[in-house]
Symmetry: C2
Subunit: 416 residues, 2 copies
């Protein structure tokens, strides 16, 4: 009894934290409530009841099903629903006409066969990737409307009236949804995507920094902030798993009208590309961090020798990422970015030079520490070598990619 | 005109290929058609028309909305729909009773406020991760049913009759769906997951092989099969992006009854864990393949020196993965697996030893090729070193993980 109460309490607490964490979610819930209450008015008010009452449940259903978290998703669903309903309605009327011409005995056969064929075809179309991405919901609505209208047409005998009624209620539902989502605290998919990308960039930069610091700092670090440190270090994992989110958001963002700083034909696809190169970058960090937990570490001698330059590479790289994030935020290419990239390239070059001179340092003093060197030589070279080429090769290739793309994107914005 | 025709033709061709590629998708479409046609019977047949006709649209709607590709998904949606409807129905009746007790003026107010509050609360609950994963659809149905029943209750005045009718139609729809999905060529989410995992394992093994071969084979390879080779090499990318699919499938598989070789309480979560370690493995391969395209390659001398052992590490590793795949397929731990793991560990050990002896080989002959070595020494060491520690450290750590898990899973199956 007490356990159940405690469980419920912790559940409520979690829910409360979720609400405090992102108040827009709470606002979204209130918006759904408002929309539903408004729709209910169509049922309460007598004059409207006469006109729409019987099918006002369609309006309620439309609101419940269509109301999504972001504007883009809502608009996308609205268009899908409207197109699906219209198309299915016309087809169903056509089929009904053919059925009524073919005699009483064949009427159910014609209707049944047409339902079977069209439902199968529409279901199949949902497997085709292009349609699945954009019109999945529309295909479902198509099946639903078609089977409802054609089957009910056989009985109710007032097909056109029914179709008109259904359309008008759906239009009412859709317009209420669109007005409420866009006017009351709108949550734009495009803006969410924008923030997701910049937030992920910051996370990447933090992870890269932490990774380098932890690798070269063998003192154990400050214990007090260790948990936070660990959290930062794991930040790149978010980037790795954000593919699906980015793609759906970009898909929804296409449907959104111009809002805030974003124009209608904003190049959303660039965000997806940037996301992809960020994921490449995150894979690089993943490889780096696997060196952190590897059991055979290089000796401190070599580590110290390289730590300054490695840390510089990582800090300059992460500052390039951060600058990119602020550039995307302000949607303007800053001069500082070019400067930082230049600096990063210089530090990478220096590190490469240092690496080339490394064996020279190791081999010369053969008398002094030869035994220790003999044993650890290779593992030293290998293991200190790992973080560097990765810190160089992968992120830099990725940065180059990122930069080309960001420039393309900035140009795209300038054009638009 | 011709262009449009050509486009339509290529679209149809693609769709046809999709169908040929996976005939189960076509079967699924036919199943949907059959289910819908059966439901339509409730409308055609007179006796049923009297009983259910007016609300038989609910049955159609249930079939259209609930019928999913896999059995698990369908059952999950059915349970969601039934629970949501029941819960909302009881609550709506309760609210309606309170409203009817509170006088004519307050009736719409009570109903409106309750709709607003409950719709907001249910929408909010959909943001809570636990509920989103399992009961997202149920929450939507809850909102829908509650608002429909409580609003219509105010007008129609035959609430219990309506609720009973709706429930019975939904039960009819649900039972038709369940019977058809489970009896006619069932597609089990669990089996799909099972095949996905083994297929991904094969892809991983292929990628690993190709990666190693391409790195050490500078002759350019056989041009005829280059495209296929490239395809195999890219196989690991599928593994990286399959997280969401695996998780949803595992979520659906829980709901499925015992089928084929899988018992009811099959440890599906183990599949998710195996998937996760496979992704780790894939990140390792990603790092490896970035060495392939890196512009500064080590000289052939060192490459040749190490190629035999590296190739052996990669082939033994990939054969371990393949053996794991067949083991999962047969659900039995074979003796061959232990043997292969032993072999892999031996080859890794040998490679490590060889690496330790490397600088000894490079340093001794200082007279002969010292200049060439001086220049390339470090880059050689670094670059040939990269594929090895990665081929060692990451996959092996992952293999160990995989093995522990596969053993746990095999034990789980033995227990079940």
């Amino acid at each position: 009894m007490k356990g159940a109460f405690f469980k419920a309490w912790s559940f409520l607490k979690k829910a409360w934290e979720l609400g405090v964490d992102d108040p827009r979610k709470v606002i979204h819930c209130l918006k759904v409530g408002v929309a539903l209450t408004i729709v209910s008015l169509f049922y309460y008010m007598r004059p409207l009841y006469e006109g729409l009452g019987g099918t006002s449940m369609w309006a309620i259903m439309t609101v419940v099903v269509i109301f999504e978290y972001t504007v883009g998703a809502t608009v996308c669903k609205c268009l899908n629903r409207a197109t699906g309903t219209l198309l299915a309605g016309f087809l169903a009327v056509g089929v009904h006409w053919i059925a009524s011409q073919s005699g009483e005995n064949f009427e159910p056969v014609v209707v049944g066969v047409s339902v079977f064929l069209l439902a199968s075809a529409a279901t199949f179309s949902r497997f085709i990737p292009v349609i699945k991405a954009r019109f999945d919901y529309g295909a479902m609505i198509f099946i639903l409307t078609f089977s409802l209208v054609s089957v009910s047409g056989y009985r109710v005998e007032k097909l056109f009236y029914l179709a008109r009624q259904r359309l008008s209620t759906i239009i009412i539902g859709i317009s209420i949804c669109v007005v409420i989502t866009t006017l009351i605290c709108p949550i734009w998919a495009g803006e969410e995507l924008h923030h997701l990308i910049t937030r992920n960039m910051d996370k990447l930069a933090n992870s890269l920094d932490c990774c380098a610091v932890q690798y070269f700092d063998s003192s154990g670090g400050t214990n007090s902030s260790e948990k936070e440190f660990e959290k930062k270090l794991q930040g790149y994992k978010c980037v790795m798993n954000s593919k699906a989110t980015e793609e759906t958001m970009a898909g929804f963002a296409i449907w959104e009208p111009a809002h805030g700083r974003f124009s209608f034909q904003h190049p959303w696809n660039q965000y997806v590309k940037i996301g992809a190169s960020m994921r490449d970058c995150a894979y690089g960090i993943e490889a780096l961090s696997s060196c952190l937990i590897s059991e055979n570490q290089g000796p401190d001698l070599i580590k110290k020798h390289l730590s300054d330059l490695c840390l510089r590479v990582s800090t300059t790289s992460s500052s390039v990422i951060r600058e990119l994030a602020t550039n995307i935020n302000t949607m303007r290419k800053s001069v500082k970015l070019d400067f930082l990239i230049e600096e990063m390239n210089i530090s990478v070059k220096e590190l490469q030079d240092k690496l080339k001179s490394l064996p020279g340092i190791l081999i010369p003093p053969p008398g002094q520490e030869v035994e220790q060197c003999e044993n650890d030589n290779e593992s030293e070279l290998i293991l200190t070598a790992i973080p560097i080429p990765l810190a160089e090769v992968i992120p830099i290739a990725t940065f180059a990619l990122l930069l080309i793309e960001i420039e393309a994107r900035v140009e795209g914005i300038v054009d638009a």
